[in-house]
């Protein structure tokens, strides 16, 4: 126990130590996070009228980002499966950094939900036994369980392994293997449950589609590993952790398959909407072509399709073996899927309203600042985690005897 607190103390101190680039990066993130906190405080003082949301479009950028990042968090499993199940060496060495990314991203998700609440001060109403937790009826209560569980699983796995390394001891498989295998199933579940939040609403035909959960998973397994590829290159550029090219190229293969499946599912969805052309097509029409002159999302969704198709073409071609091409494809996939699955999935669910009214949504400046602040918070947390984890993994940080 004493060792453990000493470790936490050293980790805390270490997160304030680095070269000038580290200080610049951390200061930048802290400032953006504080600007976001300030914007959230403004929202708390005035109410959610500081956002672009209305009774017509009652969820916006917060829930869109939440949905997207649940997928990114789930995608850590694309490192975990090859590393633990297939014992792929280059990935085994770096899997812990994927698990840490999942921890940071889940915290980002929880932050996005928290800022969306009208009464975050009443969070205790959700705590089982103390409050009233509508489990298992409400899908939102399932999502709380899924996300909290995934956070704890990854914190435990990554924390245990790093701490054992720090002690210079061999990790006991009994204390992490069962959790690793649970986390694989759990990762699939967090994104499935998040999809079911929307699919479970029978009155919203745009979301009431069985294909949403598989689409979520496919797009997550493309966007998540894309982000991991870019992150690992940044890590190896700035630190002594030399992630092997092999690891990146292995992820590339996973992404290529996921991108193709994602596009196929998108095509299937489009067919089911537009070929029969029932009255329920209105939301899809709004998204893809505009409805009664309302067309704020049209340009975005076509841009997203262009990016996703371009990314897929690069991922499946040989060019993606070269890092510049691979990185370009990753950026295209990350942004394309962010548009498609974020605003492109959430907002049309509300347009038109169940009574046929067309009211558009766009995030306000204050709302955008809150979003940026949360992303900065996530980056800040992840930087601190790897700031500690890298010297432990490389052997520079060990228990002082």
């Amino acid at each position: 126990m004493k060792d453990y607190f000493a470790f936490l103390g050293r980790a805390f101190k270490l997160s304030f130590v680095g070269d000038w680039r580290y200080y610049a990066w951390m200061s930048f993130l802290t400032i953006v996070a504080l600007i976001g906190l300030n914007a959230w405080a403004t929202q708390l003082a005035q109410g959610l009228s500081t956002t672009g949301m209305t009774d017509q479009v009652s969820w916006g950028a917060y829930i869109a980002n939440f949905t997207y990042f649940v997928g990114i968090a789930a995608a850590a499993v694309m490192l975990v499966i090859p590393a633990y199940l297939y014992k792929t060496e280059p990935l085994k060495k770096v899997v812990i950094f994927g698990e840490l990314l999942a921890v940071a991203v889940i915290i980002v998700c929880l932050a996005f939900v928290t800022v969306d609440l009208g009464r975050p001060d009443r969070f205790w109403h959700m705590i089982p036994l103390i409050g009233k937790f509508n489990w298992p009826i409400s899908m939102l209560s399932w999502d709380v369980v899924a996300l909290a569980g995934y956070l704890l699983l990854n914190m435990h796995i990554a924390g245990y392994l790093i701490y054992k390394l720090y002690l210079g001891e061999e990790p006991n498989p009994r204390w992490y293997k069962p959790f690793v295998f649970t986390s694989i199933a759990w990762a699939i579940s967090i994104h499935t449950v998040t999809a079911f939040l929307y699919v479970g609403l029978g009155g919203r035909s745009f979301w009431h589609s069985a294909i949403i959960a598989p689409r979520f998973l496919a797009s997550a397994f493309a966007a998540g590993p894309s982000l991991i590829i870019l992150t690992f290159q940044i890590i190896r550029y700035f630190t002594k952790l030399k992630v092997a090219d092999e690891a990146l190229l292995l992820l590339r293969r996973i992404i290529a398959v996921a991108m193709v499946i994602n596009l196929f599912l998108l095509f299937s969805e489009l067919f089911a909407e537009f070929y029969p052309h029932t009255y329920h097509v209105a939301a899809a029409e709004y998204l893809w072509f505009g409805l009664n002159g309302a067309n704020k999302l049209v340009l975005w969704i076509w841009l997203a399709v262009f990016m996703n198709v371009a990314a897929t073409v690069i991922f499946v071609s040989k060019r993606s073996h070269s890092l510049p091409w691979l990185n370009a494809a990753c950026v295209l996939a990350i942004v394309g899927i962010w548009i498609e699955k974020g605003m492109g999935l959430i907002v049309p669910g509300f347009v038109p309203t169940p009574l046929g009214e067309v009211v558009e949504y766009a995030p306000t400046f204050n709302e955008t600042l809150v979003c940026l602040g949360i992303l900065a918070l996530g980056a800040l947390l992840y930087t601190i985690m790897i700031r500690v984890a890298i010297p432990v993994v490389l052997g520079g940080l060990r228990r002082e005897v």
Binding site: T42, T54, S58, H125, L201, P354
Partner: protein, 310 residues
């Protein structure tokens, strides 16, 4: 960065440097939170710790009601009465609306707003009246913002929509904290002091019947209805959901809902389904009624029918 050299240096880092980082961090955070200064006075521990409606004993409820009256006095400068009006036995409320005579005057929507102390700024109404194209019941061609000099327009008909008090309410299913539920007399209510404002119920409702308080509701003092109840028309806090409650503070005491009372054409029929002599029973038995969006399967207690006045 991961150089082991800088690890050895940790202990030697100057105290001053650490202290200045800490001061900058703390003062930055305090500055970031400064907008909360305006509302920190509104925070009330008792209100924050208040239990769910179903957990309150009779004595606790008395205290809560007194506190709510005091809060309203402080906010709006006027005396109101907040009661906890309980459902009556052997009662199940239902509503029917004759689209054959509704002229789309929106008197119901305005009467409702007044009766229920619904926020005027930002504006919000429980009843949405749709101007419909003759020849079908297509919501997607409905006009929500119609503003003619006189109603009705000859080529249109009008359909008011409000909470349908469904028997299988998707909003109640959605709520993660049981802040909304169906009362024994069929009315779906919200505990405004329990709702966390996630708006999942608002997304779940197929009839767009729920409203969110995006700001602290503004009500002119002289327009406040002082006769209120906990689960219906008492003043609401910011950041919570609200909705039509069939005016339960009136209807549970034998009165009609405000929207019915004001209707100039007699298009609205309200009553107890369990009373065989009630008008609503007569309408359901003798008119060809339909429910809106029957396919979503939420089993509404709100019915429409067409019958031209003789």
């Amino acid at each position: 960065m991961s150089d082991s050299n800088d690890l050895i240096q940790i202990g030697r880092r100057s105290f001053l440097k650490n202290a200045s980082v800490a001061v900058a961090g703390v003062s930055g955070t305090v500055a970031a939170l400064s907008p909360l200064k305006e509302v920190v006075g509104d925070f009330d521990v008792e209100s924050w710790l208040q239990q769910h409606y179903h957990e309150l004993s009779e004595d606790e409820m008395k205290d809560v009601l007194a506190r709510l009256e005091a809060e309203a006095k402080e906010t709006y400068g006027t005396d109101i009465k907040v009661r906890d009006v309980k459902p009556k036995e052997d009662t199940k409320f239902a509503y029917a609306l004759n689209l054959g005579v509704c002229v789309g005057c929106r008197k119901c929507a305005y009467a409702c707003e007044k009766e229920n102390n619904v926020s005027r700024s930002p504006g919000m109404q429980y009843i949405r009246v749709l101007e419909m194209e003759k020849g079908g019941v297509n919501l997607e061609t409905a006009n929500h913002q119609y503003e003619p000099e006189t109603v009705p327009k000859p080529d249109k008909y009008y359909m008011p929509v409000q909470c349908h008090q469904c028997d299988k309410p998707s909003c109640v299913k959605a709520c993660p904290v049981n802040a909304t539920w169906k009362e024994p007399d069929g009315i779906v209510v919200v505990d405004y002091n329990w709702c966390i404002g996630c708006r999942y119920c608002e997304a779940a409702c197929p009839y767009w019947a729920r409203r969110f308080n995006f700001e602290k509701p503004q009500l002119p003092k002289e327009e406040i209805n002082p006769n209120t109840s906990y689960l219906s028309n008492r003043p609401r806090p910011v950041g919570v959901m609200e909705k039509c409650t069939f005016c339960l503070h009136r209807t549970r005491e034998g009165k009609y809902p405000a929207c019915l009372e004001v209707c100039p054409t007699g298009a609205r029929v309200f009553g107890n389904l369990l009373d065989p002599k009630s008008e609503i029973r007569y309408v359901l038995q003798h008119k060809r009624v339909f429910v809106l969006k029957e396919e979503v399967g939420t089993v509404p207690n709100f019915f429409y029918f067409f019958e031209a006045q003789s």
